[in-house]
Every structure is written in structure tokens, then in C-alpha cells.
Amino acid sequence: MTSHTIEKSLILAAAPANVWAFLTDPDKLAIWFHRPDNALTSPGPFSMPGEDGEPLVWGEVREARAPSHLSYSFTARPMGGHMTEVTWELSELEAGTRLRLTHSGIPAGAEAFGLLTGFDGGWDRHLLSLREASAAD
């Protein structure tokens, strides 16, 4: 399967330890992302429930080296359990932190669309029809 990687870089006006807390602490993750069921500070599985209480985002922490490196596998409900990899790297700057995000293993093209639509029996056929209908517009 072809896959893509997204890379992002961000300068934050806060020390790496503060940024680290926002990447790992459930209360702080809840502010900008979703609240996990446990802190992402040691290897092991994690889950972030949706409003219905069922897992919305989940994965497994691979490596957590405070306050400079955090990596975990990552999937979300609409991704049908397809696992991708997320890595955060933090480096100290004079007045803050450079934060790098790498999200790899993202399926590309038609395979991605099939993945998105194929996680529920029969649903892919609905979407195929919709694609044909929209292409005819």
C-alpha cells in the first residue's frame, strides 16, 4: 500500500517541559485534542473516547522520552483500525520550543478512499455510487 508522511514544524513560546505536558497529560490533551484514558508518558496502549464513550482515537505509545521525543501508533474510528505512526520531537530554543510532528503511514489515493469507506459492510458501495453521482455533476 502506498503511504504518505505529513511533517509539520511549530515554534512555541513555552519551555519544552510545558509543551511536553500538553502532549502527554490527559487534562491538557483534552484542551486541544481529546482526553486519553491514561497519560502518554510510558509505552503501552491508550484510548481517547468519543462523546458516546466508545474509542474515537487509539494506539500504543512506542517511546516517551520527556521532554524531547514521543512516538505512538495512531488510528481513529473513521480509519477502520488502520494504524499510522505519529512522532513528536521537541527541541529547546532560546525563547521556547521547536516542535516537529511527523505523521507517517497515511494511505494514499484510491486505497485511502477504499479504507475510509470500506470499514462498514456495504458502505463502500454507497460511496461508490455517490462518487459516480458527484463525478456526473
Binding site: 500538553f22 485534542f33 475510509l116 458527484s134 455533476d137
Partner: protein, 119 residues
């Protein structure tokens, strides 16, 4: 849980918030509703007849689908007509772009939260 209300309003002007689209697709009932709407437009009552859930529950599902731009809701007389929005599905096809925008959005929220906390 993060409140996406402000962001949702912004994205309605600019583009679809991928979180809204993910959220809309994440629920099997909503996917089933989309399957029904594929064949024809429906009122809330029409949709409700296909499920063992209340009309307010169906209305809520439809509102989420509208937020994800997967359907359009158009007033017709006293009724509100729900229909598939092909444009929303077209945007879904670019999976990579969805993730790209998703992270831009989340990183912006992270920056705001971190810097507010540090100040």
C-alpha cells in the same frame, strides 16, 4: 472534550473542518442515513421511519451530517429537506489533505493552549 463550535463556524466560511467530517462518518447510524439519502431527498420524518430512535435523535444526527457538509438541509414550506451534498464527499476523497488540515487545525489549538498556559 474540545469545543469545536468556534472552529466549525470558521470552517463553514472557509472549508470543511475535517474533524466534523470524521465525526459525521464515525457513527453507523449516520452512515445508514447517508445510504438512505443516496436514493432520494428526505424530511426528518421520512428518515425517522427507518430507525428505532426518536425524531430528536434523528434530527441531531442530521445536524452532525450537515456540520460535516455531507448533507444539505433546505427549508421547503414547513419541512426541512435533507439531501446528499456531493461537494462534501468530493473533499473527503483527498485523504492526505484531510490529515494535513486536521493537523494544522490541531496544532493551532495546541499553540494557543500552550502559550496561554505559559503566559
Amino acid at each position: 472534550m474540545v469545543s469545536y463550535k468556534r472552529e466549525t463556524e470558521r470552517f463553514h466560511i472557509m472549508q470543511t473542518d475535517p474533524h466534523d467530517t470524521f465525526k459525521a462518518l464515525a457513527d453507523p447510524t449516520r452512515r445508514e442515513i447517508l445510504g438512505l439519502l443516496k436514493s432520494r431527498e428526505m424530511t426528518i420524518g421520512d428518515v425517522t421511519r427507518h430507525f428505532d430512535i426518536t425524531r430528536p435523535a434523528v434530527k441531531k444526527h442530521l445536524a452532525i451530517l450537515e456540520s460535516g457538509r455531507l448533507i444539505t438541509v433546505t427549508p421547503r414550506g414547513r419541512e426541512r429537506i435533507n439531501a446528499i451534498n456531493p461537494e462534501g464527499f468530493r473533499e473527503l476523497e483527498n485523504w492526505l489533505e484531510i490529515f494535513d488540515r486536521f493537523w494544522d487545525d490541531r496544532l493551532s489549538a495546541l499553540k494557543t493552549a500552550v502559550e496561554k498556559d505559559a503566559s
